[in-house]
Symmetry: C2
Subunit: 85 residues, 2 copies
Amino acid sequence: MQLEQTLGLAAGMLVTCSMIPQLIRVFQLKSAREISKFFAILLLMGMLCWIAYGIYLNLTPIIIWNAIGAVLTSILLYAKLKYGK
Amino acid sequence: MQLEQTLGLAAGMLVTCSMIPQLIRVFQLKSAREISKFFAILLLMGMLCWIAYGIYLNLTPIIIWNAIGAVLTSILLYAKLKYGK
């Protein structure tokens, strides 16, 4: 695998997977007061734009990472609506 | 501007700027208990990988968005260390 592919894979995986400990934290505490609703909404909109970009240019890694990211961010938004105030 | 450029610009801007309301929220509440330290660390590492990827392939938008994102995420990590527990 070439250096740029390894870097791109590591970068996408780290950024997408970073949401997992955040989700665990919020669901463990059953509290999302400090999570900004606009953070989750803007991030979700951005990821949907990346998916459209990936589909348009046929970039499979961009589509896959952002699809996983969009699902995780949707769960955070759900947690915010459920536990936030 | 072509459709893919517009989509890429919108996507990068939305994802990067999503951190701004989150930072405002944490600094307003002076509390970062619910923010996962691993979220901030993994996200920062991922963005640094994207910057290296952008430098390697000479992709200016990738470098710029992730440099701004890395600064914002560093501020979130600082807030976590200052206000979190």
